[in-house]
């Protein structure tokens, strides 16, 4: 029986943060093969690379063979992302920021699990906040990357969604068991020995556990909980122009401390700022008044198309995979359509999801720093006592900036750089609701529509929408500046 060669060994040997020199045992043959597979490491427009068999001497002298992550399809990732989005939708407490955080850790766990199988790429340990190191894949112990990814995502899903229903927990187990059968091309039993399989599973789980250990310290762990005992109850600042609970439910403020969470990439939430909002005023003719009046008038007179936009991008928790999940859904479909490889998918979800999560942290920081009054309250105070937006309920947190705007801007900025600015795509996220498929000419067009939809819905001022865009772009740029490649 032959063994898979760890084609990533040379890459791992140069991991930037390795204090230890990796004992590189790959043969010249292997290196030559890597060069052959240099094939385009995992370009974004490419499909899974053809299998390239690398052969090298194991320490014991046995022959082993291995394929890099780019040699496998992204099918494993597709199924996991699809299931995780379902779980986000169906698990209470996964509000948009919480969902984005979960996706961030899932994306990162996937990437870190398979990066040893991505030649030329490196771990993000050392680049992310308070994450100095992660487990190493032993260079002389070949791994099967789909198995690693399957184990990492299964383990991460279990830990990230402990309050999922029994049915969904069962789906996690089922998916983990069935993927090797479903995707037999990636999980060819004739090429995976029992010890490779075990080792791969172990490594995937280990990576998930390491990521989860780090995740627990970010301030957002179990954010769905009823009350954070380690923090005082949040008392909304009071004063003219400040946010107060909004109709119809007048729910208490959602996640007031979320902006104090440790971001993934940006050093602190305030590193990415929204633009300065207009000075509060109830005086007719003032800039703020005009903004309030515009929301009132536009949402009242919204066209059928504008109303559809508002509903389409609402992405309410409990009904949808939330806004971040919406963009993850889009990315997942694109990767599948392009028959992207496992490495490409891993990098995509690491970048996209971390950028969206950081976008929520930055947005929440601004929201709960400025505590700007929502349009429904403003309009009732100064324009129309009995007005409430008819299309969308106002979410229970301060207005500025629009979370949709910040997060969508982060998403499109990442996707543009990964897939190209003029990439048309089909959005199937809401096909099950009869609202799709919808085709967009590019990512920015979709993001702008998502952002503006909040004004059509009567729940955000235009300045909150426009002011949030630079903040999201900022988090995306920070993520895109990470050194994924060595």
């Amino acid at each position: 029986m032959s063994y898979l060669i760890p084609s990533i060994a040379p890459a791992l040997a140069q991991r930037r943060h390795s204090a230890k020199a990796w004992a590189l045992k790959a043969s010249a043959v292997a290196l030559a093969a890597i060069a052959a597979v240099a094939y385009c490491p995992h370009g974004y427009a490419q499909s899974a690379a053809p299998a390239a068999t690398l052969v090298a001497a194991k320490p014991e002298g046995a022959l082993v063979a291995a394929k890099p992550a780019s040699a496998f399809s992204s099918n494993v990732v597709y199924d996991w992302i699809y299931l995780d989005l379902q779980i986000i939708q169906q698990t209470p407490g996964f509000s948009p920021p919480v969902a984005a955080r979960a996706l961030g850790y899932l994306g990162l766990a996937l990437y870190e699990a398979v990066v040893p199988g991505m030649p030329g790429y490196q771990s993000l340990a050392g680049q992310l906040n308070d994450l100095s190191s992660l487990p190493w894949a032993q260079p002389d112990e070949p791994l099967h990357w789909p198995t690693v990814a399957n184990a990492a995502l299964a383990t991460m899903s279990r830990m990230m969604f402990p309050t999922a229903s029994a049915e969904n927990k069962g789906k996690i187990d089922l998916l983990e068991r069935n993927l090797p059968i479903k995707y037999s091309q990636d999980f060819n039993p004739s090429t995976i020995t029992a010890d490779i399989s075990n080792r791969s599973e172990t490594f995937g789980k280990l990576m998930a556990m390491a990521i989860m250990t780090w995740a627990r310290t970010d301030g957002g762990h179990e954010g769905w909980g009823p009350l954070r005992k380690d923090r005082p109850a949040w008392v909304p600042p009071s004063g003219t122009g400040k946010w107060s609970a909004t109709p119809p439910t007048f729910a208490p403020a959602l996640l007031p401390y979320w902006g104090q969470n440790r971001p993934f990439v940006i050093k602190k939430a305030s590193d990415c700022q929204a633009t300065v909002p207009p000075v509060y005023s109830e005086e007719p003719g003032s800039a703020f008044y005009k903004e309030g009046l515009e929301v009132y008038q536009i949402s009242n007179a919204a066209t059928q198309e504008q109303r559809q936009f508002a509903l389409y991008w609402a992405d309410d928790p409990g009904k949808t995979p939330t806004p971040a999940g919406h963009w993850a859904y889009i990315a997942n479909d694109i990767l599948k359509l392009r028959k992207a490889n496992l490495a490409t998918a891993a990098e995509t979800f690491a970048r996209l999801n971390m950028a969206m999560s950081d976008a929520f942290v930055a947005a929440w920081h601004t929201k709960y720093t400025l505590n700007i009054i929502r349009p429904v309250t403003y309009v009732q105070l100064g324009i129309d006592s009995n007005w409430v937006p008819t299309l969308l309920p106002t979410p229970p947190f301060p207005d500025y900036p629009s979370g949709h705007s910040v997060q969508s801007s982060a998403a499109y900025t990442v996707l543009e750089q990964l897939f190209g600015a003029d990439t048309p795509f089909v959005d199937n996220t809401h096909n099950d609701r009869g609202w799709g498929p919808r085709t967009f000419k590019n990512f920015k067009a979709a993001a702008d529509e998502a952002a503006l939809s909040r004004m059509y819905g009567g729940i955000h001022y235009r300045f909150s929408i426009e002011g949030g865009k630079p903040q999201g772009q900022c988090t995306a740029k920070a993520v895109m500046a990470l050194q994924f490649k060595r």
């Binding site: 009350l227 005992k229 005082p232 109850a233 008392v235 909304p236 600042p237 009071s238 004063g239 003219t240 400040k242 107060s244 609970a245 909004t246 109709p247 007048f250 208490p252 109830e282 309250t377 009732q380 105070l381 100064g382 006592s385 009995n386």
Partner: protein, 522 residues
């Protein structure tokens, strides 16, 4: 059911209240979760000079609304919502008074958040004045208010009550925050740094009243035993130039612990000293000074006077009542003060009545009170909080406003012995406003006495009390069958006016300098 009447006892004169909430145009709810479980007040005041009080209703998480009174005198009540500058959310209560003595009513709005003090500009327009008058912007849970003019001051001394620490909703017990006392600074144009009325025991009502007729009001505070530790009801001695201090047991103060929620004060028994009714959860108290003006020592006479109001009188719910706003006033103009109590479950507390009707207890010549809420037509089962008896249509009959938690506010017109189409007076009345040329233009703290032919009824002009609800305007006196009455006033500072005669069923202004003058609607 009414108690059996002795053969020689005239039947009770029960006024008829007709609900006109919807037809009057009153559309507001007091909503909100935990931080809005208390409060829900209404303020009434005339800000356009037509003699009819405007209405300002707090909405909790909803916007508070100002209504201009457009009623035709003697006719159905008509309110019209207007933009006034008083637009706010998180408002829990409101009290009108003229802080700067310019003759234009100002308004203190209690809020979950900083209190907002509004300066009246005339013609029912207001502007925020916290900065102008140096009102502290404490982000607390404000629940009570009262004001008095200390001797020599042109601006009033303000007492501001608060509930428990908003940062401790997980364990609020023992976290009652201190109440504040604001006194004018040396300029007399704004307030000095607040003095703490500490310890605070979760105040839900406070009232400056001259309990011993000393010429100097003390501050009574009704405190909610639900959240304090070691607390009690309080009476603060507030002496000009000195720090406030609590009356002590050595001085005669008796420790009392109730779920204090509202205060009504009135000289019910005609001895010249005010009795105090404290609302609570079932154990409402009617307190009378047991040693006269010598000691602040009170005995409870609620049971003796049939004024316990401890459980629903109609509706079949046998659980204890929860009482909030309380107010003495003469709703049937018979010359005897009646008691209005607003009731309502805190939320859905299972051990207390859910169907908890508001009370209307008619005062009788023998000092006893009789419940007539059902017969009067005002036995609402909504979750009541604040309220007000006030003449909204200028016909001499006191109408009724009630703010309900998690439900619409309600309004009833008092049609006396008649019907909505043909209201009928039940007795004679007069209404009076006081005026003096000082900062205390409305003469808050004055005592008015009306002689009904040998029996004197008296009323102290106060700002505060009730539950989160206040009125500034006509003082109302029922005269019974008297077509004319003599009246006099003890002005703030202690001097008495002469007795003057006044014909019944009219409005008067008594000016400290120029005397009594009839007032006619413009």
């Amino acid at each position: 059911m009414l108690p059996a009447q002795a053969a020689d006892t005239p039947p009770l004169a029960i006024p008829h209240f007709v609900e006109e909430t919807d037809t009057a145009g009153l559309q507001i709810r007091y909503d909100g979760q935990d931080e809005f479980m208390v409060g829900g007040g209404v303020a009434t005041f005339d800000c356009d000079g037509d003699g009819l009080p405007e209405v300002y209703v707090t909405g909790g998480v909803n916007k508070a609304k100002f209504y201009r009174n457009k009623s035709r005198r003697g006719g159905p009540i008509q309110l019209k919502e207007e933009r006034s500058g008083l637009e706010l959310t998180s408002a829990t209560g409101a009290y009108p008074l003229d802080i700067d003595g310019d003759g234009k009513t100002d308004l203190v709005v209690l809020r979950v958040g900083e209190i907002e003090v509004f300066r009246g500009l005339g013609q029912c327009k207001f502007e925020r004045a916290n900065a102008l008058w140096n009102i502290p912007d404490n982000n607390d849970w404000h629940t009570a208010f009262s004001a008095t003019w200390e001797r020599g001051n042109s601006m009033p001394t303000l007492a501001i009550g608060s509930y428990y620490d908003r940062g401790r909703p997980d364990f609020p017990w023992g976290t009652c925050t201190p109440n504040l006392l604001l006194r004018p600074d040396a300029t007399g144009k704004k307030y000095a740094a607040p003095e703490l009325l500490s310890p605070g025991y979760c105040a839900l009502s406070m009232l400056f009243s001259d309990w011993n007729r000393s010429g100097q009001a003390s501050l009574r505070i009704a405190n909610d035993r639900e959240y304090y530790k070691g607390g009690q009801e309080q009476l603060w001695k507030v002496t000009p130039g000195q720090s406030p201090r609590l009356y002590t047991a050595e001085e005669g103060w008796k420790r009392l612990q109730v779920w204090g929620m509202g205060i009504a004060s009135h000289d019910v028994d005609g001895d010249g000293l005010p009795e105090v009714f404290i609302t609570s959860m079932a154990d409402n108290k009617f307190q009378k000074l047991e040693h006269g003006a010598n000691q602040p020592s009170y005995v409870d006479q609620a049971y003796k006077r049939g004024i316990t109001a401890h459980r629903p009188y109609v509706g079949g719910d046998i659980h204890p009542s929860t009482a909030w706003h309380a107010q003495f006033a003469d709703v049937n103009n018979d010359g005897y003060a009646d008691l209005f109590v607003v009731k309502g479950n805190v939320s859905t507390m299972p051990d207390f009545a859910i169907l908890d009707p508001n009370n209307l207890l008619l005062g009788e010549p023998d000092g006893h009170f009789t419940e007539v809420g059902q017969q009067a037509g005002m036995a609402s089962f909504l979750r009541g909080r604040g309220g007000m008896l006030v003449d909204l249509n200028g016909d001499g009959l006191l109408d009724m406003l009630v703010v309900n938690r998690m439900d619409k506010a309600q309004l009833w017109r008092n049609v006396g012995a008649g019907t909505p189409d043909q209201p009928q007076a039940m007795g004679h009345w007069l209404q009076l406003r006081l005026h003096q040329d000082s900062g205390n233009a409305d003469a808050v703290g004055a005592w008015v006495e009306v002689d009904l032919g040998g029996r004197i009824v008296r009323e102290e002009l106060t700002v505060g009390g009730g539950h989160a609800s206040g009125n500034l305007g006509w003082m109302h006196f029922g005269l019974g069958q008297a077509q004319e009455a003599k009246l006099r006033v003890q002005w703030p500072g202690g001097s008495w006016s002469d007795w003057v005669s006044a014909a019944a069923d009219r409005f008067y202004v008594l000016n400290r300098e120029t005397g009594l003058a009839a007032w006619k609607a413009p």
